[in-house]
Symmetry: C2
Subunit: 166 residues, 2 copies
């Protein structure tokens, strides 16, 4: 979900810049995360994800709804999200999906930790670490933090996802 369907970084930067009168932009996060840039505030930065409603109103990544809907006509789609890292996010993530991805049945939503437990042919993810132990084909979805990662097929946006699968 995060950085693939939901723009968590946009909201994180907005809150961070407001709270610390900083001016970090996505252009400063190429190949790294906010906590790498401001290590003395690591605890505060990860604290945003513990706010119960942080995930409730994230912006939807461009074209994700349209392309996933289209793919769902040809493929069986599951949404797998590493929610166990942020247990207070469960309700907000579920409601966000119900609001924006109305065509995904709850039976096809998975809140997990280690994604090696996922049985699927493909996994579209922004973290290559999630491909470790995954038996299918990992597809790396470009996010600022992963721009220098190699070793996996890469898609830069949802139009490229459509092209990859159709």
């Amino acid at each position: 979900m995060d950085e693939v369907m939901a723009d968590a970084i946009a909201k994180q930067l907005e809150l961070f810049n407001r709270d610390y009168r900083d001016n970090v932009g996505i252009e400063h996060l190429q190949g790294r995360k906010l906590r790498d840039l401001r290590p003395h505030l690591t605890k505060e930065i990860s604290g945003y994800f513990d706010l119960p409603d942080f995930f409730r109103d994230l912006p939807v990544i461009e074209n994700s709804i349209e392309v996933i809907r289209e793919l769902s006509e040809r493929y069986e789609i599951f949404i797998a999200t590493a929610a166990m890292e942020v247990p207070y996010s469960f309700a907000a993530k579920y409601e966000w999906l119900q609001e924006h991805f109305t065509f995904i049945p709850p039976s096809n939503i998975v809140f997990c930790g280690n994604k090696s437990i996922i049985h699927a042919d493909f996994l579209i993810d922004d973290h290559a670490s999630n491909f470790v132990g995954f038996q299918g084909q990992g597809v790396l979805y470009t996010a600022a933090h992963n721009v220098f990662v190699t070793g996996y097929p890469r898609v830069n946006n949802w139009l490229e996802v459509r092209e990859f699968f159709c």
Copy 2:
């Protein structure tokens, strides 16, 4: 989780008998569910699962903690629960696991719907329907509702699970 690690039926019967001055016992539920026995109250019966705290204080099924801890020394254990049927249960289920199964890391907890998404060698479950599409070996854990189900290896309690795997 439910009927394998957590005794949801015990609590459901307790609440039902209290609210409807009934006297249903587990002995009346052999091969069927409470809603089959009292179909005119189906909505009220399933409503118990929507109470946010229903799952928080369920009794732990006998020997499950000890045997799962023992198995976790030889096997990689994931807890997969069909939580998407009862989205208000997320927090309570998570906290219940954190309380009783302290040795299971959050990364190995999976809240899902359709269990065909689970990639594992074995799935211990009280619902044979969860074995449909599952690529590993299903192991049916005896619960009142499934006593007449055949077609899968069956374990009647956690001591039998230990025997099956060790």
